[in-house]
């Protein structure tokens, strides 16, 4: 947790002793300090020819394949958490948004909105995490922007990343192709990220060995597409969890989905934490898991390919599309009963007992 959050409100700190270690409003002023911030703390770490040129835009060579383009903004409290940080999230999240459309990520932009007072130490750790995650995903940060704003909530840093990718040959992600009989696969254990974040929030904190699953999944997805599996639809199950993705599929395609609770991969620690907080693991955020819909005959190959990748070790078929009316998502519970699965209404909050 950064010093910004642990410092009690109203506490007086000596500006002179602290300021040299922290980002100042002046670092966003466009002058010498801004140049230094960008050169010493960002470009020197994320080093590549595009960034080094310090142009207003990056010029990227392209092929005749379609461009896939996305953007996402990242806010998280605290900025650093077990298994990741806002930097890893901001790269993995945008890479995954490209990858689930069947694209190979090529380049990302990085927009930093820094609150004055953010310790440079924290910023440096996060930029280093961005570098490592981008390397892992084999994608370059080719352009960026930095702003410094007055101190507000004290969370310190917000990030926007946009990304472009090339559509992979053989990829045909199209919800309209989903039909009854198709299978639902998840690439691993659910709810790890959301529960990890909750476990370190003020007022909710609890002991757990859980870690965020934040990870770029493009390599695994690339292998999946190359294997010839007919992936009809794919989505990373972030906010809203698997329940949110399934509800979207059901509503937009007008199709029913039957999910088998006993097949849902979940760590015992995650199940325990969710039970304790009164939350449904299906509605909790993941940052390194995809849900995909494939033709039934492809399920074995798809699971094999995923399980051979570290991010997909616990891949499992959890359900199937059906032609039941009205179109709803239903869970066959481990007890043998049935219930409806809906997307969560908003922020998931721990309940009373």
């Amino acid at each position: 947790m950064s010093a910004i959050q642990t410092q009690p409100e109203g506490a007086v700190t000596s500006v002179s002793s602290q300021s040299s270690n922290r980002v100042l409003l002046a670092h966003g002023g466009g002058g010498e300090l801004t140049g230094g911030l960008i050169a010493d703390h960002i470009v020197s770490v994320l080093r590549n020819n595009h960034l080094a040129a310090l142009n207003d835009s990056a010029v990227l060579p392209w092929t005749d394949r379609n461009v896939v383009f996305t953007t996402d903004s990242y806010v998280v409290t605290p900025l650093e958490f077990p298994g990741g940080d806002i930097g890893r999230l901001s790269v993995a999240g945008t890479v995954n948004d490209l990858a689930v459309m069947g694209a190979e990520p090529v380049a990302l932009s990085l927009g930093l909105i820094i609150e004055e007072g953010l310790p440079f130490e924290t910023l440096d750790r996060i930029i280093e995490s961005i570098r490592r995650t981008a390397n892992q995903a084999d994608v370059s940060i080719v352009t960026g922007d930095t702003k410094v704003i007055e101190r507000r909530a004290g969370d310190g840093l917000m990030i926007n990343t946009a990304g472009v990718g090339r559509l992979l040959e053989g990829a045909n992600i199209d919800l309209a192709r989903v039909v009854p009989g198709d299978a639902v696969i998840v690439s691993g254990t659910l709810a790890d990220h959301g529960l990890t974040i909750m476990s370190i929030r003020d007022g909710i904190e609890f002991d757990t060995t859980l870690q965020s699953d934040a990870a770029p999944l493009n390599e695994m997805i690339h292998k999946l597409v190359d294997s010839g599996v007919d992936i009809k639809f794919m989505r990373d199950a972030t906010r809203g969890g698997v329940a949110g993705v399934l509800a979207d599929i059901s509503e937009r395609r007008g199709i029913s989905i039957e999910v088998d609770e006993s097949r849902i991969p979940i760590k015992p620690g995650a199940q325990y934490a969710a039970d304790m907080l009164g939350l449904d693991p299906l509605t909790i955020a993941n940052e390194g898991k995809i849900l995909c819909i494939v033709a039934m005959q492809d399920t074995e190959t798809a699971c094999d390919v995923m399980r051979r990748c570290p991010e997909g070790r616990h891949a499992a078929v959890i359900g199937r599309m059906t032609d039941e009316e009205p179109p709803l998502v239903e869970l066959i519970t481990t007890a043998g009963g049935r219930r409806i699965v809906q997307r969560p209404y908003g922020e998931e909050l721990p309940r009373i007992c």
Binding site: G203, F206, L277, G278, L328, T333, G337, I340, P350, I352
Partner: protein, 364 residues
């Protein structure tokens, strides 16, 4: 499905068929309500067994006037309201804590009273107000925390007391006379504190079987089977099928703590009115921790939407779809009545887990 589950399910079906009329069992506890929906137990019950969700969802029974007081407290300068998560969205007369937060109020979600006290230690220049809601399950934790604050001389911590007691509510419900209930599935968590013998008056005075059950699917089905066995034989006894966790006499230490910190009080329940001796106020030695006194907040009245039938839902008179507001103006996104707010609320649980049945008209 495991063998235990199948055995209980089959016996339940057999006995309900033999009884040959609608069997109405009230599950008193909100956790049972959610567990029954979430585990799919409801879909496994015989057609003539009706599971009625009683006044056991702490959020649903918190009087609107207490929500209004909480909102008023949240608008005071330098006050941080610390609350269990499900209270944040409950509508008062003017908005909710969630809306006040958007207007700049400082509202924090905590998972326990002691976490709220930690906030008081962490922010010594702010006033922390904890919303003390819930039944005998959460009341001892509130009491212990108040004792801790008292002992530690923490002056910037107070509690809006809105705790409720289960037995007076069950008695009040049965005294209404027009609520046909054949038996009670009694709450496992509350019973840990009060003990299974506390249901004595419900069984002896009102002649209703009471069975204390756990929250796993097989534990719930087992408790229902024990209830239906009694109903079939015309008996009215207390049975405890959760003995690993619940004792006959309850948790004496917790009861002592409650008696140390609280005195019983006539308490308003949402949609049910004031029920005699059904809640708490702080004992004289601890009155300094009463948020209403500290900030001089007057508690008003409840002004419910006349079309809202949460009271009838809580009393088991109707099921949620029978309310004209259900899914028609009152939804989990914009709740009108409290039963639509908490995930434990009957209407919210119904809305979330039950849609196909209502959509196809399978429920009346």
């Amino acid at each position: 499905m495991n063998a235990d589950l199948m055995t209980w399910r089959d016996e339940l079906a057999l006995r309900c068929e033999r009884i040959g009329r609608e069997v109405r069992i009230m599950e008193v506890c909100g956790t049972h309500t959610v567990a029954a929906f979430r585990s799919g137990i409801r879909s496994m019950l015989p057609d003539n067994l009706r599971l009625i969700s009683g006044p056991g969802c702490p959020v649903c029974v918190t009087a609107q006037r207490h929500i209004d007081a909480a909102i008023e407290l949240a608008t005071l300068p330098n006050v941080i309201v610390a609350t269990y998560g499900d209270m944040v969205r409950v509508p008062g007369q003017s908005g909710s804590l969630e809306r006040q937060r958007a207007n700049g109020a400082d509202v924090r979600v905590v998972t326990s009273a002691s976490r709220a006290l930690s906030l008081a230690r962490k922010y010594p220049d702010s006033e922390i107000v904890f919303l003390g809601v819930g039944f005998e399950t959460t009341a001892p934790a509130t009491a212990v925390t108040i004792m801790d604050a008292h002992r530690s001389g923490i002056r910037n911590f107070s509690v809006l007391i809105s705790h409720k007691l289960v037995i007076p509510a069950m008695s009040a419900l049965l005294s209404h006379g027009d609520v046909p209930i054949d038996g009670f599935l009694c709450p496992g968590h509350v019973s840990v504190i009060i003990g299974s013998e506390a249901y004595g008056p419900i069984a002896s005075r009102f002649g209703k079987p009471c069975v204390v059950g756990g929250f796993e699917p097989e534990q719930m089905l087992k408790a229902l089977v024990f209830l239906v066995r009694q109903i079939e034989r015309g008996e009215a006894r207390i049975e405890n099928v959760y003995p690993a966790v619940v004792s006959g006499s309850g948790n004496a230490a917790a009861m002592e703590i409650l008696q140390e910190v609280f005195v019983s009080a006539d308490t308003p329940w949402r949609s049910l009115g004031v029920i005699p001796s059904s809640g708490f106020e702080l004992a004289p030695a601890y009155r300094d921790f009463d948020a209403l006194r500290r900030f001089n907040i007057a508690v008003g009245d409840d002004v419910d939407n006349p079309a809202c039938r949460c009271g009838d839902v809580i009393l088991g008179r109707i099921e949620p779809p029978a309310c004209e507001l259900f899914d028609n103006g009152c939804t989990p996104l914009s709740p009108i009545g409290p039963c639509m707010v908490s995930s434990e609320g009957t209407c919210a649980a119904w809305h979330k887990y039950h849609k196909r049945a209502t959509a196809t008209g399978a429920l009346s």
